[in-house]
Symmetry: none
Subunit: 408 residues, 2 copies
């Protein structure tokens, strides 16, 4: 029997409130160079400590699979309980979400960037001399004004940072993925985007659309040296993901600040609660909306940013900032709280990593693992052990007593 089917059959509707608090990139390494402590271990976290003293279960989560470092997409899909190997989100879609484009079912999105072409149409610089963001914005504006539609398909063009932008095709009967319109090296012409599945008539239509887009757009850019061409990659449609509410019988809300995470939450059908900027405001918003939703996804970004910078002190302070705000959330204690990250972002790596993420669960039924604090090293000793991140929502549901007994 399929496990998701079993979970679904056993799921009961209850009145429980569940809060998943994600400190992006939380996990870190206790390196010798950093005095053998992690930022979470070095941080002063009296409020987390108090929560631990009230009884929490701890463990560590493998984001995707042993040794695999996830991007934000797979990292969050796993946290939302979707197997990131089964539900893949194209890079174009992730990029569009990151720019705050509200994708609709069936939209096809591509990451694009300006490049330089020679007189024969060969790519001489894949990044168009890394033009300034302002130039990119101007060129995108020009393209957007000239190309609003192709046939009956709407075209949405939105600039990103530097030479990067995103193209979204919104119409009927479209589908990805396509191969990249990018030779991935210089000295060659722009490749033709082709359906990855040659049997898909929708993908064929989409490939034709991309070709038409090039036909319309290249003349517009012809004299805009060094950005007289562009490459398109990760051309994919918004995947068909079962909605969070149907899957878990929980009405979900997302309280995030950055567009990417709002977009990922929207992909699974969460309602975005907008207008917050700080973790204090996010927790206050949770209090305001407590009665309106069952599941709250609260996303805190700073831990990841400072990890990427390799800034141990700043990551530690970000954790302390989060800790100082925690009592706001606890004013209306949810039945189940999980606190974790979507992946590790160790300062020593200045990048996302594969290292297991510390996680805690607090509920009336979590028990206590008798640990003093919530730390990477402590979580290694917890009763949750090391488990795949995609099961976290299932553990939260179990703690909310949302599962009937399996068998007699």
């Amino acid at each position: 029997m399929n496990l998701d089917t079993l979970y679904s059959e056993l799921t009961l509707k209850t009145k429980a409130k569940l809060a998943l608090v994600v400190l992006d990139g939380l996990g870190d390494l206790a390196t010798i160079a950093q005095g053998e402590v992690t930022p979470l271990e070095a941080a002063n976290t009296p409020n987390l400590d108090r929560l631990v003293a009230r009884g929490v279960a701890q463990g560590r989560m493998t984001p995707v699979a042993p040794g695999i470092t996830p991007g934000s997409g797979p990292g969050h899909l796993a946290l939302f309980g979707y197997d990131p190997l089964e539900f893949q989100v194209g890079r174009g879609v992730i990029e569009a979400l990151g720019l705050g484009i509200e994708l609709k079912a069936g939209d096809v999105a591509a990451r694009a960037n300006f490049c330089t072409l020679d007189s024969k149409g060969l790519v001489t610089d894949r990044r168009a001399g890394r033009i300034e963001t302002e130039v990119c914005e101007e060129l995108c504006g020009l393209l957007a004004r000239k190309i609003r539609k192709l046939g009956d398909t709407e075209v949405i063009i939105k600039p990103g940072k530097g030479h990067r932008f995103v193209v979204v095709f919104r119409g009927k009967g479209l589908e990805g993925p396509l191969t990249d319109a990018d030779p991935h090296r210089e000295g060659e012409p722009i490749s033709k985007a082709e359906p990855v599945n040659p049997k898909s008539t929708k993908a064929k239509k989409t490939a034709k659309l991309v070709a038409d887009f090039y036909k319309a757009a290249l003349p517009v850019l012809a004299k805009k040296q060094p950005a007289n061409g562009f490459l398109m990659r990760g051309i994919a449609h918004q995947p068909d993901i079962p909605s969070f509410e149907e899957r878990y019988r929980l009405k979900p809300a997302c309280i995030a600040v950055y567009p990417m995470y709002k977009g990922l939450a929207q992909l699974v059908g969460m309602t975005k609660l907008e207008g917050t900027h700080t973790i204090d405001e996010q927790f206050e918003r949770y209090l305001d909306e407590y009665d309106n939703y069952d599941f709250f996804f609260i996303h805190f970004k700073a831990t990841d940013m400072y990890g990427e910078d390799g800034n141990f002190e700043a990551k530690k302070r970000a954790i302390e900032e989060f800790d100082a705000a925690l009592p706001i959330l606890l004013k209306k204690r949810p039945d189940v709280i999980a606190i974790t990250g979507d992946h590790s972002t160790p300062c020593a790596l200045k990048a996302h990593s594969w290292h297991p993420i510390p996680v805690l669960i607090h509920s009336d039924y979590s028990g206590s693992d008798k640990l003093d604090r919530f730390t990477e090293t402590g979580a290694n000793l917890g009763s949750l052990g090391i488990f795949d991140a995609k099961y976290l929502v299932r553990f939260m549901q179990a703690n909310a007593r949302m599962f009937d007994k399996f068998g007699a």
Copy 2:
């Protein structure tokens, strides 16, 4: 390669004796309210402590899957090494086993209960006013006398507690599962039991049999207000489970007190050693039968019962009672001992739960995890880690040196 096939190919026949001692519902939670100890941690267990001092490996087991709470059926199938998602036992079968009915291959069993019908045949009370067990016994006796056979199929009717009873059909060419003959709400007629797999001709025959049973039985009850009707649920056949002896090359015996566990052991072909009532008697019986079997499944019920009652002190005392009896078992020390539960039954929940079960293995090759005692918190740190319960028998076989090396 299929893992079960690999195990099977590597299995050697040895003279080792293996004992699996199951303290039903053993696992518990160290809640703050209970002083942050579990019954196992609070109990005085000098004999278990001595066993630990002689060297044990500890760990925790996931009964079925993350967050899933098993009934006794899936819990024990997993302990016997059968994937509980692959080998499912219908509720009717479990109920029949619980009443001590010796099911045979091909038997179809249903849980049934008396209900009240109005003059139009609509269900007005799904539990027939919760009639007394004595009334149920009388009505079952009446039905059993009137309906011994339907065609060439034998019909066995056995009363349970209150309004509950079990019906078993014993004949040729029968198969479940069927949908319930139960509208699951009042104000509707008794539903027709239909094959879950509409292509199964055996299930069709069984559905016809259920319909015939209603035709014969309802007139018998017509004037027996408030129990003038009955509902049938979980209609299923005894599943085809590969025998324990073939699978593991171990001749197994079951020393249990309660019918349910004897029945589950019988499902996989264990010999039931009857006539014991206390854990002392069960261990004495093990000594008597030591030479006659290779694998002993010894089941202790009290831990689960007191967990279900939420009675921490009594669960603790039950563990102490077990501990006091343990030296009897050790008079003829088996080559491999495993001590664990089939699931957790935390006092704080007063119910079965999904929490991982502490487990210990003692053999000449178990090594020592250098823990002082056998406890939930200690087991978190053990060398067995957290593993799926279905692998316990494999670990026991390995400790019995029953597996040849895989590959050169």
